[in-house]
Amino acid sequence: MDSLKNHFVLPGQVLATSHSETQGGFLRGHGTYIELVPHDQHDNDDDPRDNAGGSSSLGGMAGTSKKRGWGNSSDQSNVVMRSEHDGGGDNDDDDDGSKQSGEGEDAAALLRVGPQRLIASVAGTVQRVNKLISVIPSAPAVYTGQVGDLIVGRIIGVGGSRWRVSLTCSPPSSGSSSSSSSMREGQLPLSGVNLPGGVQRIRTSEDVLAMRSLYREGDLLTCEVQNVQKDGTLILHTRSLRYGKLENGVLTTVPPSLVGRRKNHFVTIKGVISSEETNGDKHHDDSVMDVDDGEESGNVDVYLGLNGGIWIQRTIPPQWENSLHGSLDQDSRAPLAETLQKLRQRHANTRVSASAREGIARVRNAIDCLRLVHCQITPESIEIVVKTSLREGVRVKDMLRPEFIVKITEATRSR
């Protein structure tokens, strides 16, 4: 426990002080900001405002002064300095967007050389990679996207040849455009979407008119971050065949920090549906094509969106795939786009069997348990919780009772 202690910092705590003479210095990472030590600041050791926060200095930093007080030595570091006078008055310390680019209107500041202090701006644990010091916040609730992230989002607006996607999957709020979500919205341009049937052509104005036929307000979809604009808005796309509209399943949301970055975010949880628990299958004699149990594979698909949206649906049984190929006898390999589209269509229309429905509910509750216990949500942790709840014979609806939550998530914590 104590190893974490001296590395846990609070905003305002000085992480490093660079001296203009010695090379040493530091690079500013996330969660920190740089401040110039004011010249008139004399350093008296019995400074009453001795920083009581960190219990001991961050020994590991090379070249940093032991004293945590306001060291008055000055050092030239290869980091862009900013003019910042103390006294709480805030003027925009125009933090350089990214640390590499040294340009920016403060070229003049380069001349005024002075000692800098690197100060933490969020509460979290310090990480240091040779010169780069950054602070990782313990529970960032706000998702800041990176290129290539899988997003499960909801369309909340259509306009100007693009869709507005809510990252917190909040519903399209009523007339007032004020978004009540706690995260910025993503933009899905028309050019970032596959046209039906996989045809590739330039987007014409009819496409713009027919946008609603692709995605309407309120629809759920999986997409990927194409790039991140300067002010942080995410540009999304659903170019790959895996992405598209989500149907016939359940959505649940968790804080983004609990969903780590993984190689593959399309996950299958096996063996969810225990045979003995399936309550009587009441088959309905409706027109909707019915699934006979033979084909039902006991698996559940989970799409882990990095923005915290998690989509759960039953796994598409492999039999459907080859039954599709069987029917298209003339050309052996129909274009992949069509088969996927047909599979998706069939999945959307086929009623979920009772046992699959129970499996989906069990996985959904498992994810809820993990969220309540702030445990990282990974395929393994979900599987462990599901297996434990099956072994303990916990009914699906009891999984969310506090006493059961502690019991079934025990396994994830003993790892």
């Binding site: 009523s174 007032s176 509910a361």
Partner: protein, 368 residues
């Protein structure tokens, strides 16, 4: 539209299978827990309110506080209103500013943007208040017994409900919070000494000689009682009627669902709030606009949907009432079990818990 048609279809499908998306059956409630005592034992044992400054209080919350409703009851002796001289008064106020996700930019630049949201917030709060006023308040307590000396002093119980967050069925939560708040209120025994004539306990006060009506307040907390007749204060059960428009079959099938989550509420064609008391008597019914798909007004707004129009097949009326009565019965049992649980159990000694005064919103699962 709150949720996509395919999600709604799945939810209604599950309800028809009597296996809802979180595993519950149609008539089952979520594990609400009632907090009427501060979470640590360091505070005075007898103070039964998690809000220190009020006579009685309660907190209804679900694990992970997806629903968190506070209720505080303050009692004071007031002069009764002229048209009801011999009855006590119960006043209700509801505040759900934090729950709505509406950005109420009051001050600052965005004056205009805030007004639409503020109007909606006030509308929602007044809707909850008027519904509680109509369904629960008339039967909450025995008003006559609240009068200490008719015409002069009666008890006024001001019930303030703060909805911090609500995941569906906000009226049920408020009614539960109000009932538990009233049950945890302790009113001291007050006896009025009539003018001149010696009241039985008059020997106590040394200032017995004052002329006009005087009140002898029994200081002993053990003698304090909850307001009379609070046992049969009714609870509200919101029954959501989900209607699955069957495709070719043309047969529209309806199913009643109790304690609907937000998603389920969003695809309900109409919602009926039925207030039922402990003995199973129906104390009030009110149809709310469904959050449903087809006949909802365009500016549908989540939470307590303001969707006005609701339509429900006639033959459903009977089983909606029966559903509500059945669900209410096991809700009462659940709440009673919960009440003893939270009173009787000696609480986990948090030795190094810095919160001497017990912090109000501590969730059930303490991660350390």
């Amino acid at each position: 539209m709150a949720i996509s048609p395919t999600e709604a279809h799945y939810i209604i499908e599950s309800a028809l299978h009597d296996f809802r998306i979180d595993g519950r059956s149609r008539l089952e409630h979520r594990p609400y827990s009632v907090g009427t005592r501060p979470s640590t034992t360091t505070t005075a044992t007898s103070s039964s309110s998690c809000l220190i400054l009020s006579n009685g209080s309660s907190r209804i919350h679900l694990p992970g506080s997806s629903t968190d409703i506070l209720c505080s009851v303050k009692a004071d002796l007031v002069r009764p209103s002229p048209n009801k001289p011999n009855e006590g008064v119960v006043e209700i106020s509801v505040d759900s500013s934090l729950a709505g996700g509406l950005d109420l930019s009051l001050g600052g630049a965005g004056g205009g943007g805030g007004t639409a949201a503020k109007r909606q917030l006030r509308e929602r709060e007044s809707q909850i208040t008027s519904l509680l006023q109509r369904l629960v308040v008339p039967h909450a307590v025995h008003y006559r017994e609240l009068a200490i000396c008719p015409g002069k002093y009666v008890w006024r119980l001001s019930v303030d409900i703060v909805v911090l967050r609500c995941d569906g069925c906000v009226l049920d939560g408020c009614a539960m919070a109000m009932r538990e708040g009233l049950r945890s209120t302790l009113l001291p025994r007050v006896s009025a000494v009539m003018n001149g004539e010696e009241g039985v306990a008059s020997g106590v006060g040394d200032h017995g000689g004052s002329s006009n009506n005087d009140l002898i307040v029994e200081g002993d907390v053990r003698m304090a009682l909850p307001p009379p007749g609070v046992e049969d204060c009714p609870l509200v059960v919101t029954v959501g009627v989900l209607s699955a428009p069957m495709g070719a079959g043309g047969r529209v099938r309806h199913v009643c669902v109790v304690d609907a989550r937000t998603e389920e509420e969003a695809c309900a064609s109409s919602r009926v709030c039925v207030s039922v008391d402990r003995k199973g008597m129906v104390c009030g019914v009110h149809t709310l606009g469904g959050g449903g798909m087809e006949n909802r007004m365009e500016d549908e707004f989540g939470g307590l949907g303001l969707g006005i129009s609701s339509s429900m097949p006639v033959n459903m009326l009977g089983d909606v009432v029966n559903t509500a009565a059945g669900a209410a019965k096991n809700l009462y049992e659940m709440l009673d079990r919960e009440k003893e649980l939270s009173d009787g159990k000696d609480l986990v000694r948090d030795d190094h818990d810095t919160s001497g005064y017990g912090n109000l919103l501590k969730s059930q699962l303490l991660i350390r």
